[in-house]
């Protein structure tokens, strides 16, 4: 029972009530001033007697007498996919309630999610379109903005070509927004389209997809509850994915699981591990091979799994043999005893899962790191089962979806690649002739000793990664493998402070002819440079202000409802992309399949109709079963799904048998009601229930050895061995083509163009009818085949991962043994890592900069941080950029906790003024800086460069002022986790 204090009120009649009447006056400061006539202390002193708390009353008060609407959306911060429940009253988001029903977050949030309501009240949001005129920000209309931007883009296209306009998208797009933006790039005619996956998990996607088929988390956060052993390597989930820790820690308790954290820092995650292993940043491969040395040495590997489902493990065995405990200790600093213990536990206390994040991916050997992790999982038979797997925690709220939809220099939506077949597939889906796209692309002249290429060839060549765009503005045109330099950056929702070499990025921004920042907040891209004009800011609404689906890290799709209308003059991505396409002249072709409705300022496509188009084309990744109706039914029935299995009871009328969010692959048409795939490559359950196998996407055999599974197949499979991907020809051979409906057959024949050979070649991934998938699954088979995972990825620079020292290594003595790869042209620009590494060794930079610098996330902030640093509820919790430094290093330098220091880096005299956080979290000789800060640049406060009233509350130096050169050869991923620095008291 709840009882108010109602006693003692007006207990004594008139005296009490008379005095109580005065009570109101005590609040009235002005009448007090008048009455007292006192002047001591002046006005300032008067306000010292204020009462109560000064705050906005209108925003957060829920008036119980008025109707409250409940709307559900998904948190826009990390990839865990927490459902946000909003209480809306009169169009204002007045309250946030826990979402108990969501099996992912079960009501909970981290600091960011619990503060997310502020984002749609944010008075620091960009309020209207702006441009720079003679160095001053001025307000303009949407019409003017679109007109001027469009004209400038067309001018650049005429003079330099389509590839000179770089389209940088966002991992915060909805799936529909991401897909639309990728489609926009295709219609514009460039592959220079990218997003944050480049700098977060591009190496994961490349490494994992090259091993077993798809670039995604194999299991789910919830499934970690089943794990007996968990390794976090380069993941600080407690800060980066806090809600995931609910599942990890529950599992740890209930399973009495072993939790290892292998990290250069004793993180908040490490504090909850059963064992912490301190490593040197940049030595992941040495550690994994060191673990596998013990596994092979002691016969702890899963021999049956390897023989049935892995190709080329012997090559790994040969490499691993070099990593004796002594060598591992020499390179990584980890003792034999500890290595052995971790190895034995991981291999024998199964199921075991391996979790990694940017600590592993942001390296020059990022892809190789990931491949090594996969090899460890394969050797111990820990993939494709509940409680095991590669639990890759992705970063942004929809980085998985944005990756899936090809916001990527090397892919069309759903990993079709850029080959002609891919373009033809999407041409069919989009109902636009293939030749149209050829006409949109640049032909590249011969230059710099390279051959010319036609537009059609150029269409198939990956673009420039987002980590190198500024190099492509400044390098000599001869050195860039496209028609001309980058002249324009069109940036939708991407920070400018999340990529190393910010001093160079600043020069790159200054060199551009056009800079467009479309974002809810002006990012570093709006403030870092000194551009006097041709710079535009477009206010984009957050995903909370528009509807659409997003794909969480575990591949589950969740539909978000629009909570409130876009605030101020902001508008959603769909509308803005439409208006740009309209201005540029291809909106009719591009938007013809969509239902168009009147939006805030213009027509806009409905996200439902965009998703339906995705459903019609996303066969390769199983993005076909997740219709808007099914996704909305899942959101309405969240409470039906099991916490651990994520599956709804079979008898539920709306979502019966489904896995929550229909995690891809969700094969076939929506009508087929495939349940989704909770755990990838899992042969322990029938394919129709989400079972699977490794994907044979690299051929059927290699050097006489089969690449198909041997003696392993999903439960209930009618083919009881390995088999290739399903095509019309395969169906015919099996006699299953008779199972196709006439409509399905007609579609397949249409795709084949009536040519029998082409019809036979129609595969599960381009069959727009979904018939081939349906028939395969009916026979218990995986549409993509049943292959082996590859321990040798012969198409990568290091087919078997090889330890290579970071470009700026604190151990130059090891560079001779473990040098980085030779210089090479990659993604249209030169990767000169080898030359720079050699120079660093020769110049003895490791002596001048004796501290290894690594970087990472804070729980309060996310990404470039503008959104979160503008949110007072979050900003209050981290008010200063800092560097973590070990007490020994600090005392040797006269640095005190909380004092100002200069951090200097080895490139270009870079320096950053930050506060010192003296802590044992980092070892002696190691420093850590978070990467969400910007707004200070090398000691200069740039607050005045933001449009008035839009500057984030908290500004600070970016770590990427200090971080240095270094790029993964497979994806162009930057080196964000291992460089050198020196620190001195400021």
């Amino acid at each position: 029972m709840l009882v108010k204090r109602r006693t003692a009120q007006a207990a004594h009649g008139r005296l009490a009530s008379a005095a109580a009447g005065l009570g109101a006056k005590t609040i009235d400061r002005r009448s007090f001033l008048r009455n007292s006539g006192l002047a001591v202390g002046g006005l300032a002193a008067v306000s010292t007697f204020g009462v109560g708390m000064a705050r906005k009353a209108e925003a957060g008060f829920v008036n119980a007498s008025q109707p409250i609407e409940i709307r559900k959306n998904i948190c826009t911060h990390c990839s865990v996919g927490c459902t946000v429940t909003a209480e809306v009253q009169n169009g204002v988001w007045v309250g946030q309630e826990p979402t108990w029903a969501s099996p992912i977050n079960r009501g909970t949030h981290c600091a960011k999610g619990a503060a997310i309501r502020e984002i749609v009240h944010g008075d620091r949001r960009l309020k209207y379109p702006m441009k720079k005129e003679n160095g001053q920000w001025v307000r303009i209309s949407w019409d003017q903005a679109i007109d001027e931007i469009g004209d400038k883009m067309l001018e650049i296209r005429d003079n330099s070509g389509a590839d000179s306009v770089y389209l940088l998208g966002s991992a915060k797009f909805s799936n529909e927004g991401a897909y639309l933006f990728r489609k926009f790039a295709a219609f514009w005619g460039t592959n220079n389209v990218d997003h944050q996956a480049r700098i977060c998990h591009s190496t994961t996607v490349a490494g994992v997809a090259n091993t077993w088929g798809y670039g995604a988390q194999t299991n789910s956060y919830n499934d970690i509850r089943n794990s007996k052993t968990v390794i976090f390597m380069g993941s600080n989930a407690a800060e980066a994915h806090p809600v995931s820790m609910q599942h990890v820690l529950s599992g740890k308790e209930q399973q009495r699981a072993n939790v290892f954290v292998i990290d250069p820092r004793f993180t908040r995650t490490a504090a909850h591990a059963t064992e912490y292993v301190r490593m040197r940043s940049g030595t992941d491969i040495a550690i994994i091979w060191g673990l596998m040395w013990h596994i092979f040495e002691n016969g702890w590997e899963d021999a049956e799994f390897i023989s049935q489902r892995v190709y080329g493990m012997d090559a790994v065995r040969a490499e691993v043999a070099k990593w004796t405990p002594d060598e591992v200790e020499r390179v990584t600093g980890i003792s034999e005893e500890q290595m052995r213990r971790v190895a034995e536990t991981f291999a024998t206390q199964r199921p075991a899962t391996f979790i990694w994040c940017m600590g592993a991916t942001q390296h020059t050997v990022g892809t190789a790191n990931v491949r090594a992790f996969c090899d460890l999982l394969l050797a111990t038979g820990n993939v494709g089962l509940s409680g095991g797997g590669a639990n890759i925690f992705r970063g942004h709220c929809n980085v998985q979806g944005a990756t899936d939809f090809g916001l990527d220099i090397g892919n069309l939506p759903c990993y079709y690649g850029l080959a002609a077949g891919a373009w033809r597939h999407w041409s069919r889906v989009w109902d636009v002739p293939y030749e149209y796209f050829v006409s949109r692309f640049d032909a590249v002249p011969a230059k710099g000793g390279r051959n010319a290429r036609t537009a059609e060839e150029n269409m198939a060549i990956p673009g420039i990664p987002s980590t190198r765009w500024f190099d492509a503005t400044m390098y000599d045109a001869e050195e860039i493998d496209q028609r001309d330099n980058i002249k324009a950056m069109i940036i939708f929702g991407h920070g400018g402070n999340t990529v190393p070499r910010m001093a160079d990025a600043q020069k790159g921004m200054n060199a551009l002819d056009l800079l467009v920042v479309a974002d809810p907040h002006p990012t570093t891209f709006a403030a870092l440079h000194d551009r006097p004009d041709n710079t535009y800011l477009l206010p984009i609404s957050t995903q909370l202000e528009c509807a659409g689906s997003r794909t969480a890290s575990n591949r589950s799709l969740q539909w978000g409802e629009k909570i409130v209308e876009p605030i101020f003059e902001s508008d959603n991505d769909y509308a803005v992309v439409y208006r740009l396409a309209d201005k540029l002249g291809f909106s009719e072709e591009m938007f013809k399949n969509y239902e168009m409705v009147q939006g805030k300022f213009s027509m806009e496509p409905t996200p439902e109709s965009i998703l339906r188009e995705i459903n019609r084309g996303g066969w390769s990744t199983g993005y076909t079963g997740q219709s808007p109706e099914r996704l909305k039914a899942h959101m309405a029935n969240q409470d039906k799904f099991d916490l651990v299995t994520l599956r709804a009871p079979a008898d539920d009328p709306e979502v019966g048998g489904d896995y929550y969010g229909l995690p891809w692959p969700c094969w076939g048409t929506p009508e087929m009601r495939y349940p989704g795939t909770h755990i990838l490559y899992n042969p322990n359950i029938p394919v129709k229930d989400g079972g699977g196998a490794f994907r044979p996407r690299f051929g059927l055999e290699r050097e006489g050895e089969t690449l198909l599974a041997e003696g392993s197949w999903p439960v209930d499979s009618e083919i009881q061995d390995g088999y290739p991907e399903f095509t019309m020809a395969v169906l015919k051979r099996l006699g299953w083509d008779a199972d196709l409906t006439p409509e399905e057959l007609a579609t397949i024949e249409r795709i084949g163009g009536g040519d029998p050979e082409a019809i036979d070649a129609v595969s599960w991934s381009i069959d727009l009818s979904g018939g081939i998938q349906r028939v395969a699954i009916e026979h218990g088979c995986v549409p993509f085949g049943n292959g082996k995972a590859r321990a040798i990825a012969w198409n990568l620079p290091d087919p078997v991962p090889v330890h290579r020292e970071p470009i700026y290594t604190p151990r130059p003595d090891l560079v001779a043994d473990y040098p980085t790869l030779p210089d090479a042209m990659q993604f249209r620009v030169l990767n000169a890592g080898h030359t720079i590494q050699q120079a660093a060794v020769e110049q003895g930079l490791a002596q001048q900069f004796p501290i290894l610098l690594t970087s990472g996330r804070l729980v309060e902030y996310e990404g470039g941080g503008e959104e979160t640093r503008s949110n007072p509820w979050l900003a209050e919790l981290q008010q200063d950029m800092f560097v973590e430094i070990n007490p020994a290093d600090a005392s040797a330098r006269g640095i005190v906790d909380g004092g100002w220091v200069w951090v200097t880096g080895p490139e270009g005299g870079s320096r950053a003024r930050v506060k010192a956080l003296v802590t044992e979290r980092v070892a002696a000789g190691v420093a850590f800086m978070p990467f969400h800060f910007a707004g200070w640049f090398q000691g200069e406060d740039q607050r005045g460069k933001y449009p008035e009233g839009t500057d984030p509350i908290v500004l600070g130096e970016s770590v990427n002022v200090i971080t240095t050169y270094g790029y993964d050869p497979v994806t162009g991923m930057h080196e964000g986790k291992a460089t050198l620095c020196q620190i001195a008291a400021a």
Binding site: M1, L2, V3, K4, R5, G23, G41, A44, A45, S47, T48, F49, G50, V51, G52, M53, A54, R55, K56, A57, G60, F61, N63, A64, G95, Q96, P98, G107, T108, H109, C110, A111, K112, G113, A114, A115, R117, E118, A238, P242, V243, M245, Q246, L249, K252, E253, R256, F266, R268, T269, A271, H272, V859, W873, L874, E876, T919, E920, R921, V922
Partner: protein, 198 residues
């Protein structure tokens, strides 16, 4: 009758600060006032633990004992509340509180104290339930709506428990048994004169 308590399971708390921002969100608590905070003990060292702390709504609350104007009162749920009408911002409750719960807005450049503000266990104050007047002074009254404090409801790892003291003690005890270790019910001995034995 329920006796409401908080319990922070430090073996679950990861210092994600959701409790802090949930509180800010729910009550629009202004900058500088931290009704709840997370403290990390042994930061960066083995055995590091984080504890989310706010007003513990003590049994025999020392704040209430020292308040010169008697602005504190304890509800039938054991929640310690105060009246801002009566509070004079003297600071005594801060001196007496073992948990640093009372907060004072700095009401001028001088930075002297305004009226005390603290965790209300999401149950408002002496104004009528769920009125705007109550909201402005004290924040939302979730308890009156049959809900528990939002900090605990939104805790990312379900480390922070709120509810009837016996029930949350049982939950915690069960966890300690399940996991086979425990680092204590932080603050309970000081606030409630008892601790939880598994």
């Amino acid at each position: 009758m329920a006796r409401m308590k908080f319990l922070c399971d430090a073996d679950r708390c990861i210092e994600c600060n959701a409790c802090v921002t949930a509180c800010k969100n729910e009550h629009e608590v202004p900058w500088g006032i931290n009704r709840r905070r997370v403290v990390t003990i042994n930061d960066g060292l083995p055995g590091e633990r984080s504890v989310s702390m706010a007003c513990m709504h003590c049994t025999d609350a020392p704040c209430a004992a020292v308040c010169p104007v008697n602005c504190f009162y304890t509800t039938d749920d054991g929640v310690v509340l105060h009246s801002k009408e009566t509070c004079i911002g003297c600071g005594y409750c801060f001196y007496a509180c073992p948990f640093g719960a009372p907060q004072y807005p700095r009401v001028s450049n001088f930075g002297t104290r305004g009226k005390m503000d603290k965790c209300t266990y999401c149950s408002g104050g002496p104004e009528a339930d769920m009125t705007q007047a109550e909201y402005i002074q004290y924040g939302t009254n979730r308890l009156a709506e049959g809900k528990l404090p939002l900090c605990a409801e939104m805790c990312s790892t379900k480390a922070l428990l709120a509810g009837d003291g016996d029930i949350i003690a049982d939950i915690y005890r069960e966890r300690v048994v399940t996991r086979g270790y425990g680092s204590g019910a932080w603050g309970w001995r000081t606030a409630y004169g008892e601790t939880i034995q598994a």
